[in-house]
Amino acid sequence: MRLDKLHFLLALGTLMAVALPATVWTRASATRLTESLGKVSDVATASAANEGYCSGNLKQILRRVLTSCGLIQGGGSRGCQPLQARQVAAMSGGDFNSLFTPLAERAAIIQFDLDRADLDPAAMELLEKTFADQRGASYFLVVSRASPEGSVEHNRELSRHRADAVLEHIKGKFNDPELEQEVGLLWLGEEFAQLDQEFCQWKHSRTAGACTTAELNRSAFIAWIDCRL
């Protein structure tokens, strides 16, 4: 009889020892869940890149340039001519070029032969490599130029052909459905914002031989812009 009672007490004690913690743990979870319902998630939301160099002034100018160049919805026709670029930028050629200084790591200069708009293999390789390195950037700028040889009108057309050559190659190679909203073209001919000797330090497609400003301006300057506008 004594052991029967012990048997019963042991059974009851064991049941309590199992049921009590299970109940306490479960209720604690329910309480924590209730407390957590009102909290806002601290997980970041995926977004395009917006680097530190994207100051208010830079964004304002970029917006004007990109709207005029047809990149931003509601903008006019595609591409900017030298006169338009000068007007929308509302700044000197030197200041315009200095806009791109923070992009040194993201930019490249695609070089062409004199009076030609054909991409050579080195130019294609650098263009593809640079375009593929989009990361979180929203806009790809192509700013083409011509060296001073020849007439102003001819150089204007020549630089336009160079910009088009870059765009066509990207279109053919990458088949990007958003290309129209990403790539902005500016052709400057010889009239505005010629590249100076400092840009020899930047990535360019012809590295053999001396770097002259004339060769540097037979080019299309390309860069991804890591700014949200």
């Binding site: 012990l6 064991t14 049921a19 209720r27 869940l33 990361r135 990007d176 459905p177 958003e178």
Partner: protein, 428 residues
């Protein structure tokens, strides 16, 4: 004539046989019964730890879990990379997942079983004489945790490819109770033919065991938090269309369109894929995959690489074309190795990939695949998704992140039910 000791539960056929067996009847079984109780207590401790870790996750938050053979002494796993975490989050850690959020943790009835065995061992240890009818029951009862442990060990090794340390403690305790029960049985005196029927006694014990298992389970069901509808947020994809051609080919023979967003080197994504593959409901889906590596080499949205090397592996998956599923499965299987390699730089991961898949060498690191991977990330941006993996969308509606682990089956069942009920209203 010498007087026999008083016995409550066993009778001896005759004084001669008692004299032959008294040594074992009084000595060896007592030690065996104490050993039985100790192993059962170990089982109680390990299954209680496992139950605690499971129940903690009912709040739908992330918790570190115990992953040590000596609970409380070893470090707790907060990274989600241990075998303990993989097993806890696997579809095998609980039952009835479609009926209740998270299901009933298998460790909870295990806790009841071990508690019952402990109770039996303690009860018998306190008696002066224990017959074979008692020890026979111990053997039968001990076979339950042993058989369950064998099945779960097989599942761990074959299905999950890992064994959790706490589970190993349970397996060991199961073998221990069986061994001790056999020891006690061999040392116990044979029961008298007139000792009465075992059936009634065993039925009583069986009912006690059922009570110890079922009462905690019922209390758990009553106390566990209900699924609040506020968690079923109506987050829908803004741009589900695959404009960039970045989604990996559909898998599954189901009919309900679903999109999973994952990182090939994310342990939680691997566990999630396993859960989805093992779920009966997952078979109703036709699943497409968007890669979202949380590696700063290609992902500008993270400052530090959570899964170093995953950009390179993602490129390999995209390069593989029709065989992308094979590369993804390989990456899941080699996650620890690839993450360790990635910590030394992306270049080493590329080398490893080229060594394993030489046919991808001409594609890896090239502009085309880099652009494609970038578009995969931009698909995530265009839908303003949170920067985390994994994520699952069924009929473009998000399964809450809190429900992609233990609550997957329950929430998926409800989502599929709703999708079927409102088939005409949801976008295909």
């Amino acid at each position: 004539m010498r007087r026999l000791p008083t016995m409550l539960w066993c009778r001896v056929v005759n004084p001669q046989s008692f004299a032959q067996e008294r040594g074992r009847a009084v000595g060896a079984p007592r030690a065996a019964l104490v050993a039985f109780a100790i192993f059962a207590l170990l089982g109680v401790v390990f299954s209680a730890v496992s139950t605690y870790d499971f129940v903690a996750h009912l709040d739908r938050q992330v918790h570190a879990i115990t992953c040590s053979i000596v609970p409380g002494l070893g470090p707790r796993d907060a990274s989600g990379t241990s075998g303990c975490h993989a097993v806890l989050m696997s579809p095998y850690s609980s039952v009835f997942r479609s009926l209740t959020w998270g299901g009933i943790p298998i460790a909870l009835p295990a806790l009841g079983v071990f508690a019952f065995l402990f109770f039996r061992g303690l009860d018998l240890s306190l008696r002066r004489c224990v017959g074979r009818n008692e020890t026979g029951f111990l053997i039968v009862a001990a076979l339950l945790p042993v058989a369950t442990s064998a099945v779960y060990f097989w599942i761990s090794k074959v299905e999950l490819g890992t064994v959790c340390t706490v589970c190993a403690g349970i397996y060991g305790a199961s073998l221990g109770v069986l061994g001790a029960a056999i020891w006690a049985h061999l040392g116990a005196p044979r029961a008298d033919a007139g000792a009465g029927s075992n059936a009634g006694q065993w039925l009583l014990y069986f009912l006690e065991g059922c009570a110890l298992v079922l009462i905690p389970v019922m209390l758990y069901m009553v106390q566990k938090p209900a699924y609040p509808d506020t968690l079923a947020r109506k987050n829908e994809l803004r741009h589900p269309e695959d404009r960039y051609g970045v989604m990996l080919k559909s898998k599954g023979a189901g009919s309900v369109p679903a999109i999973e967003v994952l990182d090939p080197l994310c342990p939680a994504c691997k566990a999630f894929s396993q859960r989805l593959a093992a779920s009966d409901l997952g078979r109703d889906l036709v699943l497409q995959t968007v890669l979202f590596p949380l590696d700063k080499e290609c992902n500008w949205m993270v400052n530090e690489s959570l899964h170093p090397g995953s950009c390179a592996v993602s490129e390999a998956v995209l390069c593989a074309g029709d065989k992308s599923g094979d590369i993804l499965a390989w990456a899941f299987a080699h996650q620890p190795e690839l993450l360790a390699t990635g910590a030394h730089g992306q270049g080493e991961v590329f080398s490893r990939l080229k060594q394993e898949f030489p046919e991808l060498a001409t594609c890896l690191g090239q502009p085309l695949v880099r652009t494609r991977l970038n578009r995969s990330l931009r698909w995530v941006v265009s839908n303003s998704l949170p920067v985390l993996t994994p994520q699952l969308f069924v009929r473009n509606r998000k399964i809450p992140d809190e429900d992609t682990d233990l609550g997957l089956d329950f929430v998926l069942a409800r989502t599929l039910e709703n999708a079927t009920g409102a088939r005409g209203e949801v976008r295909p």
